[in-house]
Symmetry: C2
Subunit: 455 residues, 2 copies
Amino acid sequence: MDKEKTKYILDENDMPTAWYNIQADLPEPLPPLLNPQTKEPTQLPPFLFCDELNKQEFSKERYIDIPEEVQRIYRSWRPTTLFRAHKLEKALDTPAKIYYKFEGTSPAGSHKPNTAVAQAYYNKKAGIKRITTETGAGQWGSALAMACMYFGIELKVYMVRISYQQKPYRRNLMEVWGAKCVASPSPDTQIGKKLLAEDSNHPGSLGIAISEAVEDAATHEGTRYSLGSVLNHVLMHQTIIGLETKKLMEKIGVYPDIIVACVGGGSNASGMFLPFVKDKIAGKKKNLKVICVEPTGSPSITKGLLAYDYGDVAGMAPIAFMHTLGHTFIPAPLHAGGLRYHGMAPIVSHLVKLGLIEDKAVPQLATFEAGIQFARTEGYISAPETNHAIRVTIDEAIKCREEGKSKVILLAHSGHGHFDMGAYDAYLAGKLEDFEYPEAKIKEALSQLPQIPVK
Amino acid sequence: MDKEKTKYILDENDMPTAWYNIQADLPEPLPPLLNPQTKEPTQLPPFLFCDELNKQEFSKERYIDIPEEVQRIYRSWRPTTLFRAHKLEKALDTPAKIYYKFEGTSPAGSHKPNTAVAQAYYNKKAGIKRITTETGAGQWGSALAMACMYFGIELKVYMVRISYQQKPYRRNLMEVWGAKCVASPSPDTQIGKKLLAEDSNHPGSLGIAISEAVEDAATHEGTRYSLGSVLNHVLMHQTIIGLETKKLMEKIGVYPDIIVACVGGGSNASGMFLPFVKDKIAGKKKNLKVICVEPTGSPSITKGLLAYDYGDVAGMAPIAFMHTLGHTFIPAPLHAGGLRYHGMAPIVSHLVKLGLIEDKAVPQLATFEAGIQFARTEGYISAPETNHAIRVTIDEAIKCREEGKSKVILLAHSGHGHFDMGAYDAYLAGKLEDFEYPEAKIKEALSQLPQIPVK
């Protein structure tokens, strides 16, 4: 009867004790990162990232041990629960078996603490006293606030002004955990001052906030910068999600036919699918289908180019080879703030290129419709980001019904939507819009790419 | 090494399958409920409560089976986790062992769904198509909205106007689950109309909202009323919390010396302590100390009288023998909206009288200080209600340090504070106040009691 259970949880003593590093298994290596000034291959700037994280960024070791202190904090909420979505399946009248791994029970409410705790730990070990970062909707900022609280590190968060104003509760969350949070652009940096001079109520963007956090770290003694997605080491820290899921599914005796996850920078999706893509690379699970879901309002894979581009607006961060809409592209004001980024993780971009994973863009309204259906069956209120993955999960389950196929669909559920109820309210009141970019606007942003050939 | 774990979770197959009914074990029976008109002993009005719930209200059966359909929904989040608060213990430098059972992972974020799902189920079985209820801060309203959604029952929630305005996100939550929510007093009832005529922006109170929900149910075909606390059957449905905790603690090999829980109507606290008080009544655990924590701004046990009083402002609900500040008493505008009630569950009042449990009142500011300390050690953001129990847990742990005693303290953690960040913000900004009532004001409210002797 084990298969009929609603949920599966590993004992904390069975929690994986090493992260999985896909770089050990890539059929061809990632193109190098480039220095934004010299355009030559580079490490991460050591004034922004401590040595251990820099080492992990380029490591080819297949498994990297999770430090005992990081494990200890993970155990505050990990291992997380794998749910069988019986009630959603029934509502869809589908023969598909839907599972979802739920990261919403971490104190910060999303998957983000998986890397935040690791990054705070390594910085602490390196003697760093202060960290800077940026945040959009606030999921990353609050996760890092929690992590820095655990290790007694001071944190300054540059929060995109429009979110700072619209989502005060995420800011409050950071403050409860002791972080300092300012609206970006802010008067605390040169780039911030410049932008405020142009527009004193500048709404900001993630690319701008990154530039501010980077400038702050680069110009303050004993300070480093922390990024919540995109980079290889960040994605690796998230693999605890997929590793736990694999262990649990082995126990149940199932293997996913389809994995669905939303992608902004790519860390949540990678955390789930990398340990499974390992099998696909090894030729074991050739039919595994991995779907990365992005918003039509920020379609970096589906509409962008695979090219070298800056990670931030000011061009201070390293240049990465990735799917990008251009570093000057300002994504639509989506409620899924975590998906509003012009670029995509190099690892995700690379795997799309190699044909190991695929992409799909969905419009905002359809994602909230899916989120409401999920809430009215499974009960949980999901983050707007997660609703993108739920949309495609439901679509695939309906396809299973139409084709009479009983596939196993695995949904990476990245977090709850408790701080996004205003977006649900707007949706129910018929006030939300879809965003789709005219090709011309994307072309214009893409024309700003630095035009560097892959070496 | 099992004792060193951070958390303990029962497998869902080990979840208790019956609720515990303390009425089977009370050394003396509860005084009867009285009809508000005749003042004679009465059942619950059948036009407000379906037969099965009415039966449970007065049952002397020790265990009542949890229906399979209710168990199935419980399993969406139950069994809930029992945490060992290692990090809080360390911060307090206490030899005490602190455990907390965390109800914050239910989709509604609190313990309230434990009875909401049961009540919706029995009403559905009785052919009821529509339910009415009241809610203060919104925890109960949202829990019942979720429960009614599962069973396809229409729900109308009368939400205290001041909360309706201040906490729109809880209202959004109810709406996502499909409930209809109006500000109380509302133009939809006679009592609401009367109060609105006196003050068109009347802030409302829980007692008024109960009167509206009761009037609505009494005057609409196929409609019943649902109460989230106070009544015997409601408290019984919550015992799943204590039963799970007992099972887990038996596995670990510990038994609590002290149980701490916040009380508003008394359902969360009773859910935890009743299965333990059973042992105390049986003479097995004479030294077990149970502390019910209420706010100084709504001190029904510590400052009220044990007397017959109405449960609602209009005097339409049955008259109960309970600790009360008088049904005309309007509690201070505390952020712990769930604790703002003039009365106390008859079972809790009875156990206080019998000396089996004790009470303590704490001021608002000290509870937020405790909540911040909890968030900065254990990570989780707690509801303002829960912070009352955390305050006393911390105080007891400090006492253990001072006395060099290694007691086992069990905290009933009733839910997260994700919809209460505005209150944390106000606390951190120094804008919160303490409330303590002048004796004269309480005396005046108590002079309005119906003055009925116990039979």
